[in-house]
């Protein structure tokens, strides 16, 4: 069903896996943040890849006359990739940036309290 | 039979029963003395004691309950006697048994003891309280085999009425519950030993430990009333056992013979055994007598 975009999908899944593995395995807080970043990138790539079809153009209306010519627009729209994922990714990237920034802020303040970046040092609350 | 006449017969019955009770206790003291190699007091010693106590010139008491205790005791004894038919079928000797059945009798047995216990406790003497504690403990213990026996008898007779139970035993010595319900009889007669409080169950007034037990503080006319109450109480119990197990009686002579035999059962045992400790006594009644009682009840249930 996803003819032609397997490479992208595989890459994206690989990135997600690497990212989440980093989050799970690496004890360093900074590396965990990087892991999230990588995974986010993977997800974003995946979304774009899912909306991509070979041999189609970008979903951009390059001719103003198309706006009035509904019939042509319908034909042309079959030849473009799905615009929705691209729009989504835009939002997702923004959110990703925000989260990453907040996470880094956390890391800085966590470091200030314990003087360490080891995640296992921050497990006082448990059970 | 008219009510005043019945009343008169009852009063006579009460007086005779008290006298009989005093006499029988005299006999026992004599028997015990002979067994122990003493001469012992005369058999009419009870009457002497009673008379002496009545004419004593000083009397002391410790309060209202103390004052009422002998009354409770005597009323309990006399009332119990009046609730039991001595000779079923002879109105003069059926007393006031129309008042209630065996259940009433069983509960009325406690009336005197509990009332006296209250008065004795007011005296403030520790020996009284200790004696009461022991007495109550033992009383509950022998109640279990006794209750089992009573239930067995009542269930097979189909009634709690003492008269009905007596009537169910008519027709020869082998119809007595003693023989038709031997296990119930064993349970009840073992319980009877406890009721009479002779050795080995004489823990209430255990002479070497708490000299007289509950009556320690009672004197003069108080004590005389208690003696009288105790005598008639003993007689009433014997009559009850006679009604329950020995087929009742048809005349007064039979009553005398049967009750004497019943009473001597506990005297024989008492002459032979030393005293139990309180918990030993309790355990005894909850042991084999209870087993016999349960077996008796189960037998009745199976024979339905």
């Amino acid at each position: 069903m996803m003819a032609g975009n397997e490479l992208y999908v595989a890459t994206a899944l690989g990135l997600i896996f690497i990212g989440l593995a980093t989050v799970t395995i690496k004890r360093n807080l900074i590396k965990m943040v990087i892991g999230f970043s990588v995974a986010d990138t993977g997800v974003n790539l995946l979304i774009v890849a899912l909306g991509w079809f070979p041999n189609r153009t970008a979903p951009i209306i390059d001719d103003p006359s198309l706006l009035s010519d509904r019939a042509t627009l319908a034909v042309r729209s079959a030849a473009i990739v799905d615009p929705v994922p691209q729009a989504l990714v835009l939002t997702a990237i923004v959110i990703g940036v925000g989260v990453t920034a907040l996470m880094l802020a956390y890391v800085i303040r966590l470091y200030a309290t314990e003087g360490s970046l080891d995640v296992s040092r921050f497990g006082r609350m448990k059970w | 039979m008219s009510f005043p006449l019945k009343l008169m017969w009852s009063v006579i019955g009460i007086l005779v029963a008290i006298a009989y009770g005093l006499l029988i206790s005299g006999i026992i003291r004599k028997v015990m003395a002979r067994i122990q190699g003493r001469i012992g007091p005369p058999v009419y010693q009870g009457f002497i004691d009673l008379g002496k106590l009545l004419v004593l010139r000083t009397a002391t008491h410790h309060g209202v309950m103390f004052y009422l205790a002998p009354i409770f005791r005597a009323a309990g004894g006399i009332g119990l006697y009046l609730l039991i038919p001595v000779v079923v079928g002879v109105p003069a000797l059926e007393n006031f048994s129309f008042t209630g059945d065996l259940l009433l009798v069983m509960y009325f047995m406690f009336f005197g003891s509990l009332g006296m216990a209250l008065g004795a406790a007011e005296s403030g003497h520790p020996h009284s309280s200790i004696g009461i504690s022991r007495g109550l403990s033992q009383m509950t213990a022998f109640e279990l085999p006794f209750a089992l026996a009573v239930v067995a008898l009542a269930a097979s007779a189909g009634s709690f009425s003492i008269s009905d139970i007596v009537m169910a035993q008519q027709g020869g010595i082998l119809h007595w519950n003693l023989f038709t319900h031997p296990l119930a009889a064993i349970a009840a007669f073992l319980a009877f030993l406890g009721m009479n409080m002779y050795a080995p169950f004489n823990i209430v007034g255990a002479p070497q430990e708490i000299p007289a037990g509950p009556p320690t503080e009672f004197n003069s006319s108080f004590l005389s009333l208690m003696m009288a109450g105790r005598s008639i109480f003993a007689v009433a119990k014997m009559v009850l056992f006679m009604d329950l197990f020995l087929g009742g009686a048809t005349n007064l002579l039979e009553v005398l013979v049967k009750t004497f035999l019943i009473y001597f059962w506990s005297v024989f045992v008492g002459a032979v055994f030393p005293r139990f400790r309180t918990e030993q006594s309790i355990r005894f009644f909850l042991g084999w007598p209870t087993v016999a009682g349960v077996a008796a009840v189960l037998l009745v249930m199976l024979n339905r």
């Binding site: 979304i47 303040r109 995640v119 | 002998p70 509990l114 406790a121 007011e122 709690f160 918990e279």
Partner: protein, 1049 residues
């Protein structure tokens, strides 16, 4: 009508404007913030009002495109409720946080507003990607807000929460993306239709990713670790805000998503994960030592319960409004509890001893919130749970009901464990109390008041004006704590008397079971409140709660519906719990009382659910049950009532609860409350014709079991009563034992047995009330409950002595007082039924009662008077009056038992036909086994007594009264009275003889149950290691596990 879009747009705009406004000063920021939230409340409230009035659901189309092309938002009733709740919480939370520097500065205020926007967006949107965006907004808001104020713990908790939250959002986003790919739409409603049309290959895995992501967002087991840390670490005020906004919003989001799961293999997974969360989180919570962490577990559990119900809502078995009730209940109660936790400030559970002792309003708030949390009426949670259970019962899910009730019982354990500590230590705490601002208290008060909207449903369920009026006066009294205690007692007396007067002749008649019990209740309440004129009230709210209790009992007796009955039962339970807990040492026994009563309540509830599942609605309809349903309903109900009656095996709660209750309450607890399980057995359980159990080919009547339980209770409790050293404990055991006789009487299931049982109900109320009141007077004067510190008081308190004397004679069943008739009836009934061994066994145990009766009167009143008690006065007159109010009926019953027996016979005849009991002449009672004449025996005794008294007064010398130490003492001077009074270990030899059966096997059993569950909880909660990476790992493992199970099917 204001556009619902503004509900999102306005706060969003304000959030961005606030930093600008802040230049005008902090006050301006606050005013604008609060005004925005107030605007939201008004708009949402207006919408809710219109929607409830039948207005059409509002659909908002963004950009003018209809769905599925444009993003649309919706505002229906459910959304309006949640939005209103979010704004309300945010408003009160803003007030609460106003004085905390960090949270109320401009950054904090902005984030608070953003959280509201996120929540409302989540609630209203119908678009999946939009959902994701709002989820992230809420998430970021949460991460940012939790660090404020609590630097260290907030940081740690926030970070962990953020790590798992980010993983969850990756899962959610992946799920959304793939779903879009699969269906070509992002509109939820559109997608659900397309998914169900073709369950495309691969959709299972995609839905799983989304599910796991949502499980983490919803804080369900096993991914609830960081969320619990958050409760532990963050400022409680912030958590309260989250509960009202984000938590509800995420839940509603998931509720919308359940449409996607319809028909998929994950529906069961949702149910199981939800219920697992409910049970496990509640289980782990019982071992928490920190208040806020415990609340965290509780929140997780509640979310679990809500999620568990969602699939049943989809299938139509449970109404959405039922879940709504639970959501509203949880929000209001949990937020109030969190604010209270913040005000109190103590993190350790043990630090809460005596909390709010001087702040009655907050204490009332705490109690109300806890009652609402555990789902007790009249609060909305109760109605929610009830309807949910009814849905499950009708749908045929008995096992889910069982597990749900077990989980609820665990909830009882830790919530009332918390209250136990609060009630512990009546004395105020040493440290100076921080002055409180009204802004801090507003939330607690407001939300507590809102919780009372459940009263509306209570009114419908009860339909009893008298009961509601009594309860309402009770609530007023609770709030009007300035009125002195004795005056409150007078109000209670008047209120109860007015009720009795109003119901006289209509409901208050002896010839009907309800009427009889109602008479017992109202009479008992009047006697106790009369006694209250003479004793200080144990707590300021005591009499108010007492009236609520009386009201609930009246309702329970009058109602005809199962729901009304159970609502009354539960209110009775909690109000009596509060009364028990109101004495000095009452908190611990009250806790045990509540846990066992809770268990009993759930057993009863289970039984009622079986009945409801069988289509029964009313109490009268119970008779229509047949077969297995009848048996299980009967068994559950009988077991529940037996536990509440403290039958042997479940009796361990009773002695302490009775003994440590306020002296004013014990008579009521023993005389009246202990009769309510009997009412239950009589009206509810006995209505069901329990079919015989066939076992090994033999039919076996299940009432046998009940009979032996009753018998064992009577025997065991009587025996234990003998060895008590404490007057109230002795009477406590005695009470439970007496209830055993009553249970046994009912179990005979014959007219005579029921007559015996009901006669004993009345008689027990009279003599046990009398004894407890008399003992209360003694305790009040002497200041101790120990036998060893009393003695000889007959000379100082003669009236009390006479009360006790009459009480014990009636109790012991010795003729000529009323007790004998009860014993006689019971034995006759047992003999008729052919239960011979039980008859003898009961004779034995009723004789054992003599031992403790004697001990009671001897140790207190007889023997030697202690030197310190030489000047003790008689009990206060109201107490004596109350006692003699009970003495009179005892004497009347002794003379003429028929005055009670005749109406009892008539009412029993309705159920069983006429009994074998007959009256011959005027006074002789005759049954098939025996006879007795109450008047004859009384006359006999009186004649003998008077005659002998005259003899004693006239014969012999006039007796001289001597002093207490004038005793025969072997010629020596007696020691002081303290050493002469034989009261301690009075029946030691008896105890030795019974040693083998006194090993305390039952309490050991319950201790083991408690230990084992605590050990499981202790071992289990180590699952939450505290390490962020472990929690991430759990998420992956959950995916694998669910995939393994789900895809294998």
């Amino acid at each position: 009508m204001v556009s619902p879009m503004l509900l999102i747009a306005v706060p969003l705009a304000v959030a961005f404007l606030l930093p600008v406004i802040d230049h005008l000063g902090r006050t301006a920021t606050r005013v604008v913030h609060l005004a925005t939230l107030a605007f939201g409340i008004v708009v949402a409230g207006d919408w809710l009002y219109r929607l409830a009035g039948g207005a059409a659901t509002a659909e908002i189309l963004t950009g003018g495109w209809p769905p599925p092309f444009g993003i649309n938002l919706r505002l229906g009733t459910a959304e309006a409720v949640l939005v209103l709740l979010a704004y309300l919480t945010a408003f009160v939370a803003a007030l609460y946080l106003a004085d905390r520097e960090e949270e109320s500065n401009v950054r904090g205020t902005v984030i608070q507003t953003v959280l509201v926007v996120g929540a409302i967006g989540l609630i209203m949107t119908r678009d999946l990607f939009n959902t994701f965006v709002f989820l992230e907004i809420s998430g970021i808001g949460t991460y940012a807000l939790v660090v404020f104020g609590r630097e260290k713990s907030g940081l740690e908790a926030g970070f962990k929460y953020m790590v798992l939250g980010s993983v969850a959002s990756i899962f959610v986003l992946l799920g959304v993306a793939f779903l879009y790919k699969l269906t070509g739409t992002l509109n939820l409603d559109d997608m659900a239709g397309k998914l169900s049309q073709a369950m495309v290959a691969g959709s299972g895995l995609i839905l799983l990713l989304l599910l796991v992501g949502m499980i983490a967002e919803l804080k369900l087991f096993p991914l609830n670790g960081p969320a619990i840390d958050l409760y532990d670490g963050a400022e409680p005020g912030v958590m309260a805000l989250l509960v009202g906004t984000t938590v509800n919003a995420v839940f509603y989001t998931f509720a919308k998503m359940t449409a996607l799961y319809e028909g998929s293999q994950w529906v069961e997974a949702i149910t199981v994960v939800g219920m697992l969360t409910f049970v496990i989180a509640n289980l782990f919570a019982i071992r928490q030592k920190k208040v806020r962490r415990m609340l965290g577990y509780s929140s997780s559990a509640q979310l679990g319960l809500l999620v568990f119900l969602l699939p049943f809502v989809r299938s139509g078995e449970i109404l959405a409004s039922t879940v709504g009730l639970l959501v509203v209940n949880h929000t209001l109660a949990k937020a109030a509890l969190l604010w209270l936790a913040g005000i109190e400030g103590n993190e350790e559970l043990d630090g809460w001893r005596g909390a709010f002792a001087t702040r009655p309003l907050l204490r009332v708030g705490l109690v109300v919130a806890v009652l609402a949390m555990v789902g007790l009426p009249p609060f909305p949670g109760f109605w929610g749970k009830w309807h949910a259970l009814v849905g499950l019962a009708r749908g045929g899910h008995p096992w889910w009901i069982t597990i749900l009730l077990l989980g609820s019982l665990l909830e009882f354990v830790y919530y009332f464990g918390w209250l136990r500590r609060v009630f512990d230590g009546i004395q105020e705490r040493a440290e100076a109390l921080r002055p409180l601002k009204w802004t801090e208290v507003a939330g607690v008060v407001g939300f507590t008041v809102l919780l009372f909207f459940g009263v509306r449903m209570l009114g419908e369920a009860w339909g009893s004006v008298a009961a509601l009026a009594l309860a309402a006066v009770g609530v007023v009294l609770v709030l009007a704590s300035v009125i002195p205690g004795r005056m409150q007692a007078a109000v209670v007396l008047l209120a109860v008397a007015a009720t009795a007067w109003r119901l006289w002749g209509t409901q208050l008649v002896l010839s009907d079971f309800r009427g009889l019990i109602l008479t017992v209740v109202l009479f008992g309440a009047m006697v106790v409140s009369l006694a209250g004129l003479g004793l200080p009230a144990p707590r300021k709210s005591y009499w108010g709660v007492f009236l609520i209790l009386v009201g609930s009992i009246v309702a329970m007796i009058e109602t005809t519906s199962l729901l009304g009955f159970f609502a009354g039962w539960e209110i009775m339970t909690w109000s009596s719990y509060l009364l028990v807990s109101s004495s000095q040492k009452g908190s611990r026994p009250a806790f045990l009382y509540m846990v066992f009563s809770g268990g009993a309540g759930f057993l009863v509830l289970g039984g009622l659910m079986v009945a409801l599942g069988g289509g029964v609605q009313t109490l009268a309809g119970l008779t229509t049950l047949t077969g297995a349903a009848a048996l299980s309903a009967w068994a559950l109900l009988a077991a529940g009532f037996a536990v509440k009656a403290a039958a042997w095996g479940a009796h361990i709660w009773a002695p302490d609860a009775y003994a440590e209750s306020p002296d004013l309450f014990t008579p009521f607890l023993s005389g009246v409350i202990s009769k309510l399980p009997i009412f239950g057995l009589g009206v509810v359980a006995a209505a069901i014709a329990a079919p015989a159990i066939s076992y090994l080919g033999r039919a076996f009547d299940p009432t046998h079991i009940l009979a032996w339980v009753g018998g064992l209770t009577a025997f065991g409790m009587t025996l234990l009563a003998v060895f008590q050293e404490d007057a109230k404990r002795l009477l406590a055991y005695s009470s439970v034992g007496q209830v055993g006789y009553i249970i046994l009487g009912l179990a005979v299931m014959s007219p005579l047995g029921w007559t015996a049982a009901l006669y004993h109900v009345v008689n027990h109320l009279l003599f046990k009330g009398l004894l407890f009141l008399a003992v209360a007077g003694v305790i009040y004067r002497v200041g101790s409950r120990q036998f060893s510190s009393m003695g000889g008081l007959i000379k100082r308190m003669p009236f009390s002595f006479v009360s006790v004397l009459i009480g014990i004679i009636a109790l012991a069943g010795v003729p000529p007082l009323s007790g004998f008739a009860g014993k006689w009836l019971l034995y006759e009934a047992l003999m008729e039924r052919g239960w011979l061994l039980l008859t003898a066994f009961m004779m034995f145990s009723s004789v054992i009662a003599f031992l403790y009766c004697f001990r009671l009167i001897h140790s207190i009143f007889l023997g030697q008077l202690k030197t310190v008690h030489r000047d003790v006065r008689e009990a206060p007159w109201p107490l004596i009056t109350a006692q003699y109010l009970l003495v009179i009926p005892i004497l009347v019953l002794s003379v003429r038992p028929r005055w009670l027996l005749d109406p009892l016979q008539r009412l029993v005849a309705d159920r069983f036909g006429s009994s074998t009991l007959q009256a011959v002449g005027d006074n002789t009672l005759v049954s098939s086994f025996g006879y007795f004449n109450a008047i004859a025996i009384l006359v006999l005794v009186i004649v003998l007594f008077v005659g002998l008294l005259i003899f004693l007064l006239t014969a012999g010398p006039r007796a001289k009264k001597v002093g207490p130490l004038d005793i025969v003492y072997a010629g020596e001077v007696p020691p002081p009275p303290e050493e002469l009074h034989y009261a301690w270990a009075f029946f030691r030899p008896y105890q030795r003889a019974f040693q083998p059966v006194l090993r305390g096997a039952v309490s050991a059993f319950w201790r083991d149950v408690a230990d084992v569950s605590e050990a499981i909880a202790d071992a289990g909660r180590r699952f939450y290691t505290g390490n962020a990476q472990t929690y991430v790992l759990y998420a992956f493992l959950l995916v694998l596990a669910l995939a393994g199970i789900g895809l294998a099917r």
